[in-house]
Symmetry: C3
Subunit: 139 residues, 3 copies
C-alpha cells in the first residue's frame, strides 16, 4: 500500500469546458507502479470544476458550456454580484459538476471507459491558473 | 488493509432511473470481510450515471426522469446531434449525477442510510448493457 | 496506514445552505495524525446533501438556495407528493449536489483551497437532525 500526493497547476484557460486527461496522466508517473488503486483529483477553487465526459468531439464540450449558460443564467436574481455577473453562476455550476473525481486505477493506468475523458470546467470569464491536488493510493 | 476490484455488467435497461442496490451487493461477497472501508462504484460510460436516492417509491424514480427531461431538454440548441436527439442531453445528465459513488463500509456492509439506494440512471433511449468497475478497500 | 470511522450528528437546521466546515473539523481530532490521506464525508439521507463552495459570503449561500428553488420548482408535475410539496424537489436537489465529499488530507489538515468550505444543503422545510458518517484513511 502506498500513498502519494502531488499538486498540478493548470494554465489559465478561457471560459468553457476543456479536455485535460492527457495533461493529468503525464504528471502522474507513479500511476505505473499501482496494480490496483484510486486517483483522487481535487480542484482547490469554487468557480471551476471537474467532471468526466465524452473525450472525442469538441462539439460536446461546447454544448456543455451552452447548457450551463442557459441553466444557470447571469440574469438571475443573484444578490452576490460584487465580483461580476459571471461569478455567482460560476459558483453554482461548480457545485453542479463537483470539485473532485475519484478514478479507479487498474494495471498501472486510469481504468476509464473508452469514451471517458477528464473535463476541466472553467466557469469564470478569466479564472486564471487552477490548482489541482492529486492523491494516489493503491498497491 | 486489502484491495479488490471487480467488473460488474449491468443488463440493458430502458431509459429511466433504476434501483440496483441489491444487484450490486450480491456481486460483492468481499464486503463481508471488511470491518471498515470504502466501496467505489464507477460507471465506464458517458451517457449513464450513478446516484444515491430514495429506495422505496417507484414514483420518485419516475419523477427524476421527468425532471431530467425538463431540465436538459432534447429541443435545445445542441450542435452535437449526429448520434440522435437523446445523446447530447444524456451526456449533460450523466455529468449532473456523476459517474462514481464512494460508499462507506462498516461491519461488513454498505453503511447506507435507511432510505438510501443506488440508482442507475440510464439516459439513452437504448443504452445497452453498462459496465461498472467496483474497487473495494478496507481492513 | 490507518482507518477510522465516526458518526457526526448535525443539529436540525432550517431549509437552506449552511457552512459546516468548522463543526466537522472539530469532530475529527484524528486528522492531525495523518500526513497524507482522504476524508470521506457521507450524509445518510436523501433530501439533504453536501457540496464544497465559497466560505466567506452568506449571500452566496442564499443565492444557492434561490437557484435551487427556481431550477427544481415545487410546482412541477411531480407524482410523488404524499410527503409534501418540498419533498420531491428535495430528492432531486440532493442528487444534484451529491451525498458524499472526498477531501484530501495533507500535513494533518483538510487540504482545501483558501475559499472552499463544506456546505450542508438542507432541502426540506423541516429536515430534522442529519447524520454524517465520516471515514478517514491515511498514513
Amino acid at each position: 500500500m502506498s500513498w502519494s500526493q502531488r499538486e498540478i497547476t493548470l494554465q489559465a484557460r478561457p471560459r468553457g469546458v476543456h479536455l485535460i486527461t492527457r495533461e493529468i496522466v503525464d504528471e502522474l508517473p507513479e500511476l505505473g507502479e499501482l496494480r490496483v488503486g484510486l486517483a483522487h483529483l481535487f480542484i482547490r477553487h469554487t468557480s471551476a470544476s471537474l467532471t468526466l465526459n465524452e473525450n472525442a468531439s469538441p462539439d460536446v464540450r461546447r454544448d456543455f458550456e451552452a447548457w450551463f449558460h442557459a441553466a444557470v443564467p447571469e440574469d438571475f436574481a443573484w444578490t452576490h454580484t460584487l465580483e461580476g455577473p459571471d461569478d455567482m453562476p460560476a459558483h453554482v455550476k461548480a457545485s453542479l459538476m463537483g470539485s473532485a473525481l475519484s478514478l479507479p486505477i487498474a494495471a498501472g493506468r486510469l481504468a476509464l471507459g473508452t469514451w471517458q475523458g477528464v473535463y476541466l470546467c472553467e466557469h469564470r470569464d478569466r479564472g486564471g491558473p487552477r490548482s489541482l491536488l492529486v492523491t494516489l493510493q493503491g498497491e
